[in-house]
């Protein structure tokens, strides 16, 4: 069960890559759980840690932490947007 994960802006810079393909570990079924799983890698990934202002999208729609993640999903993490 693979998901595609994308990082943008300051998160992309902190993590050092624009994204990756990932096999979801057992027990990781929501955006919030995925975020915690990634943050636990340490180093640049701590930019995803709890308390940081991170937003997420699943399949290109902004979602909250409780959003389910399923096989084939595209999950993106990024800081609050600053366009316009």
């Amino acid at each position: 069960m693979n998901v595609k994960v994308l990082y943008f802006a300051s998160l992309r810079e902190a993590i050092g890559q624009p994204g990756e393909e990932l096999e979801l570990p057992a027990g990781v079924a929501t955006v919030g759980a995925l975020r915690a799983h990634l943050a636990a890698r340490g180093n640049g990934w701590q930019a995803l840690a709890g308390g940081r202002n991170v937003r997420a999208a699943v399949n290109q729609r902004m979602v909250g932490a409780d959003e389910p993640v399923a096989a084939g999903d595209e999950v993106a993490f990024f800081p609050p947007v600053t366009g316009g």
């Binding site: 300051s10 947007v81 600053t82 366009g83």
Partner: protein
């Protein structure tokens, strides 16, 4: 929502012609009484630092969807005849245009409200990020709390 239709969004690196876009919002119609529009530009200063340039990163694919959704919400709330949204990405310098929002309606109240709503929502819902070049180096622009509260008004 593709360019050329009455409700369209574009995400592009190229500049746009605000006057032509404004004209297109009422072209060949006789029922448009009001065209409200907005152009956002790069300023040479932000939060006290000089800005020599900025780069706008975006999330290809999601950006267009987010803008479509914002326009759709505006259509549900107000009586609108045409809407055009253009947002640029890439490297921009002070005085460069960033964004265009134009709304045509029979009456000015709808046109003004929808135009401001789209800008407020775009500021908090469309996946763009600004990285500014300043004398002390490049920095990612922090989201403004005032933008969240502006969007929360609606």
């Amino acid at each position: 929502m593709r360019p050329g239709s009455d409700f369209s969004v574009s995400v592009q690196e190229a500049d746009f012609d605000a006057g032509a876009e404004m004209g297109a919002l009422s072209a060949s119609r006789r029922d448009v009484g009001a065209v409200a529009s907005f152009v956002g530009l790069v300023r040479d200063a932000n939060d006290g630092n000089g800005v020599s340039a900025m780069t706008l990163e975006h999330y290809p694919g999601m950006t267009e969807k987010a803008l479509d959704e914002i326009v759709e919400q505006a259509r549900q709330r107000w009586s609108l005849l045409r809407v055009r949204v253009i947002h640029r990405f890439g490297r921009l310098e002070p005085a460069d245009r960033i964004v265009f929002v134009g709304v045509a309606s029979a009456h000015r109240g709808d046109a003004f409200a929808a135009c401001e709503f789209i800008m407020d929502y775009l500021k908090t819902r469309a996946p763009f990020w600004k990285c500014e070049e300043t004398p002390v180096g490049a920095r990612w622009v922090d989201a403004r709390i005032s933008d969240d509260s502006a969007a929360a008004r609606w």
